[in-house]
Amino acid sequence: MISVEGLVKRFGRREILSGITLSVETGEVAAVIGPSGGGKSTFLRCLNGLETFDAGKVSVCGHALGPHAHDPRMLREVRRSVGFVFQQFNLFPHKTALGNCVEAPVQVLREPRDAAVARAREMLQRVGLAGREDAYPRNLSGGEQQRVAIARALLMRPKAILFDEPTSALDPVMAAEVLGVMTGLAREGQTMIVVTHSMHFARNVARNVHVFAGGRVVEAGPPARVFSDPQHETTRSFLREAGVQAT
């Protein structure tokens, strides 16, 4: 579904990603963890073309992205097949919760508005926001906003969804609401790559965990192994600081 080979990204002379290789299969939930500044978010943004990269190969749902400039049409295809959920939600402030959800299906998929609205209502209900359809983002809590953002991404029927630290801007209660929705999606077999600081989610929901540090994947594998028997010193110190006890 998604495979990355030797991905290199530089900002000026600073190398952010120094050759990332990993792959995610259909239906897989991959968690990306690691210390801040390890290149996790940049990696995710390279996958849907929000950032260009300098070397390597990225293949997303059958579309191959190369280094530097991207063809805009192909880029749109890639973005249509993978959803993206931002740390800061990035809801459209001039539209209601429902309006945020309906916008892309109507504008991009050319769905009739009525059909899009019906689907959007259903989706908002699924993420626990029935009755909040007409609220503007500024009147929603952070947790509610992030769930609208997830519904907005899901309505595009994406083959995969990329989550960029979806709960980092939320307090624990709201984070739990959002993680609950994400866990539900994982159970239904939604392919997801989740950059997260929630070790609980990585350990219990992900099939594979990738530990990023200094622009490299220092360790990868099923959470049971990575968490109980970390091979790399960086992983060990990171897990210690994150408060995870090796068992």
Binding site: R76, G83, E103
Partner: protein
């Protein structure tokens, strides 16, 4: 009450004449407009002030024993400067007119001029052709005797469209380029500039002779008498002839000056002489009768409608040019932010160039330079085009700032949903930016609304210009100014209210 009246009388009796001040300070300030050009007052190749009026002023100064200090002023505003005590004498081709002597003191004439009609070779055969046939455009210096004569002809039904200019040669240039059919000029100008405009020929003989006089502040009788005295002496000793001959303008009509100056048969002389005699307590044989004319607030009631109609022109100019400026501004802003890389530097230059040069110069360029390249645009279209282009630069900066104020995450979220950049702009970024830019855009509109007054340089008579013309002909400057200001406020204030409403509504959404 009686005491107050006495005090007023006393002040009037002891009030200084400008001549007394000139004697004390040794300086007499005379006002003229360099822009009027040769042969009156202009800069020669060495940037020195020259012209027959400069020579005349110097000769008068030598005779009177005072230094004549030149003060630059816009030609049609010289009487206002006189009233405001910025100058003591107006000496700049000002014709003797019954209206002007109501509000100022006139000296004896120093030159006999006439009006010469000029047209392109073969374009106009005689004056009679002006009275019949197709409508012809005739340009004149705004507020001049030539202007009044043409307006009078037009009022009498001649098919003439009179176009007022701020500078003498502008109209001649426009006859050459074909924007005008003819121009009516004072004889000194027509002969002085003839070599510059070889395409123009005189039509018929000069008409409507009149007198150039100096004007002094109302009540400055002693100054006027000294000036008259100087003129008589300069005429007698041949100095006047020498000066006029130097500029090629000593014509046989100047012989009239002899009669007028020697016999003292001129308005200003009589009035000044009688008044000085009265001040000395001498018996006065006769009284100068001044016809009853509209002054002060009566002018406002009489000419108010003219101002209201001119305000309509102001509104039309604004309403036609602003939408163009907005549309161009949006395109420029989008081009600079999202357009192809090669397009960005020229757009940035466009904005900097138009913001960095005065609107008036840009209008001049469109109006006077484009015709030389063979592009002839009607004055009204020039004005709208000039305003739209100038304001498009300011508008584009407002929109650019508005779009840049929208967080990057908005564009990223839209792109991540698979929207093309164009759709993302149209549906997500621009609607949010629109809320931010409403107040500055309304502000800009109000500024443009007032800037329409600059369009007078391309002969459009809008509110400010109409005020200027009326105040020149009626001398009721203060009253007309108050009415004009009130009209502007009346039109722009509702805009402010609409803007505030719009802001509140967008705030609520």
């Amino acid at each position: 009450m009686r005491f107050l009246a006495l005090l007023l009388l006393a002040t009037a009796a002891f009030a200084d004449d400008s001549w007394d001040r000139a004697l004390r300070s040794g300086v007499l300030r005379w006002g003229a407009d360099e822009e009027g050009g040769g042969p009156y007052v202009f800069r020669d190749d060495d940037e020195r002030l020259t012209g027959f009026e400069v020579d005349l002023a110097d000769a008068i100064g030598r005779y009177l024993g005072v230094k004549m200090e030149f003060v630059q002023g816009q030609w049609d505003r010289l009487p206002d400067m006189l009233r405001a005590d910025k100058i003591d004498v107006v000496l700049n081709g000002y014709e003797w007119t019954p209206d002007r002597v109501l509000a100022m003191e006139a000296t004896a004439p120093y030159y006999v001029y006439a009006l010469q009609l000029l047209a392109r070779k073969g374009a106009l055969g005689s004056w009679d052709e002006l009275r019949t046939g197709a409508t012809r455009k005739v340009g004149c210096l705004t507020g001049s005797a030539a202007h009044e004569l043409m307006e009078k002809l037009a009022e009498e039904g001649a098919p003439i469209e009179v176009v007022g200019y701020d500078g003498n040669t502008d109209a001649m240039k426009h006859v050459e380029t074909g924007n005008l059919d003819a121009t009516l000029q004072d004889t000194p100008i027509a002969s002085f500039y003839a070599p510059h405009f070889p395409a123009l020929v005189p039509v018929g003989d000069p008409v409507a002779p009149g007198y150039y006089v100096m004007y002094a502040r109302e009540g400055d009788h002693r100054l006027v008498n000294r000036l008259n005295e100087a003129l008589i002496v300069l005429f007698r000793n041949g100095e006047l002839e020498r000066i006029y001959a130097k500029y090629g303008m000593w014509t046989k009509e100047q012989g009239q000056l002899a009669t007028i100056l020697e016999t003292g048969r001129f308005f200003g002389f009589q009035k000044a002489a009688l008044s000085e005699a009265a001040a000395r307590g001498e018996a006065t044989a006769e009284e100068v009768r001044i016809g009853e004319r509209k002054r002060g607030w009566a002018v406002v009631t009489g000419y108010g409608m003219q101002l209201v109609r001119a305000a309509g022109i102001t509104v039309v100019l604004s309403l036609l040019s602003f939408p163009l400026a907005v549309a161009a501004g949006i395109l420029i802003a989008l081009g600079r932010l999202y357009g192809p890389r090669w397009l960005r530097p020229p757009l940035a230059f466009y904005v900097e160039f138009l913001r960095g040069t005065p609107l008036m110069l840009q209008l001049y360029f469109i109006f006077f330079f484009l015709p030389e390249l063979g592009v002839n645009i009607p004055a009204f279209a020039c004005a709208i085009l000039g305003l739209a282009i100038n304001y498009s630069a300011y508008e584009s900066e407002i929109y650019r700032a508005g779009i840049l104020a929208i967080p990057r995450g908005q564009m990223e979220a839209a792109l991540s949903l698979g929207m093309p950049r164009r759709t993302a702009l149209r549906r997500i970024v621009v609607p949010q930016a629109a809320r931010i830019v409403v107040p500055p855009v309304v502000n800009d509109f109000i500024a443009l609304f007032k800037d329409t007054s600059v369009c007078s340089v391309v002969t459009i008579i809008e509110l400010t210009k109409r005020f200027s013309v009326l105040s020149q002909s009626t001398q009721a400057t203060v009253e007309l100014m108050l009415l004009t200001g009130a009209l502007y406020l009346l039109m722009s204030y509702p805009l402010s209210i609409v803007s505030r409403r719009l802001e509140q509504r967008l705030e609520a959404a």
